[in-house]
Structure formats: C-alpha cells, structure tokens
C-alpha cells in the first residue's frame, strides 16, 4: 500500500488551491475576458443567423447568460485549478516540497509558460466565431507543445550537462518551428481589435491564475505544514 497521509495532504492542498485560484480567476475574467467574449458572441450570433451551418449546436443544453453561466464558468475554472494544482503537487512530492510560498511561485510561472504561453504563441486564445483548423489537429498540436515545453523547461532548469540543456532548448522551440495548424481561410466574425483585446486579457488572467496556483500550493503544501 502507498503512503495515504502524503496523498491526502497533497489532495487537500490541491483542492484549496484550485478552489481559491479558480474563484480568483473567475473574478479577474469579469474585468475583460468575459465582456470581450460576450461582445464577440453578438457578432458570432449575427453570422449564425445568416448562415445556419455553424459549428455551434444550439439544440443542446447551455447555461443561461448571467449568474448561471458565471457559476458554470467558475466550476470549470475551479476544476482546471484543482487539476493543475494536483500536477504541480505531484512534481513537488517527487522533487521536494517547497519551504516557502515565494519559492513555489516559480512552479506557477513554469506552469503558465508550459500550459498557456507556449501553446498560445501558436494558437492564441480565440473569441467565439473565429475560423480555425480542425479541432483534433489543434488539440494534438496543443498537447505536443505542452509536453515539449514542460520537458524542455525541466531539462533547461535541472539537467546537469550542456548537451541535455541544449536538447531542452530544442524541445522548447521545435513546436513553433513546425508551426500550429492554421485554418484554410482565416477569418473571424468579430473585429480584429476585439480578438486582440481578448488575447491580452487572457494572457493577464492566466498569469494571475498560475501565480495564484503556485503561491497557494506553496502555502498549503509546504514542508511540515
């Protein structure tokens, strides 16, 4: 049997971290991310009415705009927060628990670079109604980029030899040299400025989210807590 106490401490720390970071993200999203997204949806809906062959299937259940929609977004944010915190916690468990929350901000930064910045360089966060390549292709590129970036950063930070560090740098840049899958005909229902605002807002919101995950995980999962 494995050490249940270690596992329980890790999971409880991740639950608190994900809950607080997810709620914080939900609040930060209300500043610019959500307003921009809702504005873009007005353009998307205008196109949908004109062209019935849209990928959005409005037959299925979806939360009502307002509190219901915010509630489900918060739930998604908290789930992502707990998921990311469990991954960071697993690495902390293997490499040694942090002695101070400030130290674990670095883990948050690494998570931000790995799961958000690097994939977003090729596939920037999109407002609804943006033309994009096939979903499966984008998901594959996203996953490969996240794995490459995570492994590349680990090698750069922890590898002992220059050869391994060099290999880490190659891993970091290779998905971007290959390039993300692009749509055959680029275009968006929403104006370009709106799409640009959404990208900056998402970069900011995710930075706050990840630093919160790193810092809180350091607080809740530090040595001898």
């Amino acid at each position: 049997m494995f050490n249940l106490t270690t596992f329980r401490e890790l999971v409880i720390a991740a639950l608190w971290t994900g809950l607080l970071a997810g709620l914080l993200l939900t609040a930060v999203q209300q500043i610019q991310v959500i307003p921009t997204l809702l504005q873009a949806e007005v353009y998307e809906d205008a196109v949908t009415v004109a062209n019935a062959a849209n990928s959005h299937d409005h037959q299925d259940w979806q939360p009502e705009n307002g509190w219901e929609r915010t509630f489900y977004t918060a739930l998604a944010n908290i789930s992502l927060g707990v998921g990311f915190a469990l991954l960071i916690g697993a690495i902390m468990c293997l490499r040694g628990r942090p002695s101070h929350w400030r130290m674990s901000l670095l883990w948050g930064l690494a998570g931000y670079l790995t799961f958000f910045v690097s994939p977003s360089l090729g596939l920037p966060p999109e407002v609804p109604g943006t033309e994009a390549a096939k979903l499966a292709d984008r998901q594959s590129w996203w996953l490969i980029t996240v794995l490459d970036t995570g492994l590349g950063l680990s090698l750069l930070a922890f590898a002992k030899t220059k050869t391994y560090k060099f290999f880490g740098a190659v891993l970091l840049v290779s998905p971007h040299l290959i390039g993300a899958p692009q749509p055959e005909v680029p275009g968006s229902a929403a104006p370009a400025e709106l799409a640009q605002t959404f990208i900056s807002a998402a970069f900011f919101a995710n930075a706050v989210f990840w630093l919160a995950i790193g810092g809180l995980m350091g607080q809740f999962y530090k040595k001898d807590s």
Binding site: M1, F2, N3, T6, F7, L10, V11, A14, L25, Q29, V33, I34, L37, S55, H56, D57, D60, W61, Q62, P63, R69, Y72, T73, L75, A76, N77, S79, L80, V82, G83, F84, A85, L86, L87, G89, A90, I91, C93, L94, F115, F116, P119, S120, L123, P124, P125, E126, V127, P128, A132, L135, R138, Q139, W142, F198, A202, A205, N206
Partner: protein, 63 residues
C-alpha cells in the same frame, strides 16, 4: 543509552520512496489529468457548453 540506528538496505529504501513519493505523486497526477481532460477537452455537448468560457479563457482548443 543511544538508540539503535535503523539500517535500511537498498530494496527497503526503494520501497519507501515508491510508497512515500512515487505512488502518491502518480495517483495525484492521474487525478489531475482526469480533471483537466473533463474540464478542458471532453467532447460531450453539455460539458463543452458548461465549460465553454473557461476553455476559451485558458486557451484550450475549443470547437
């Protein structure tokens, strides 16, 4: 009277590391991936619609 030092052989140390670190970390990691998959990638329309804004904000490839 000094306490008797506990001597562990290599196999015992490996078992300890496995039980105290590797297995809890692996299990937590798998739980984390399952959550991320559900919130970020699951295709079911209801899950997609509920998590829609969260996915767009996180930059996950969405529809």
């Amino acid at each position: 009277m000094s306490s008797t030092p506990v001597l562990l052989n290599n196999t015992q140390i490996h078992t300890e590391v496995l039980k105290d670190k590797i297995l809890p970390a692996m299990l937590a990691g798998m739980l984390g991936l399952a959550l991320l998959y559900t919130a970020g990638f699951a295709e079911a329309a209801q899950v997609h619609n509920a998590a829609h804004d969260g996915r767009h904000s996180a930059g996950f490839p969405c529809h």
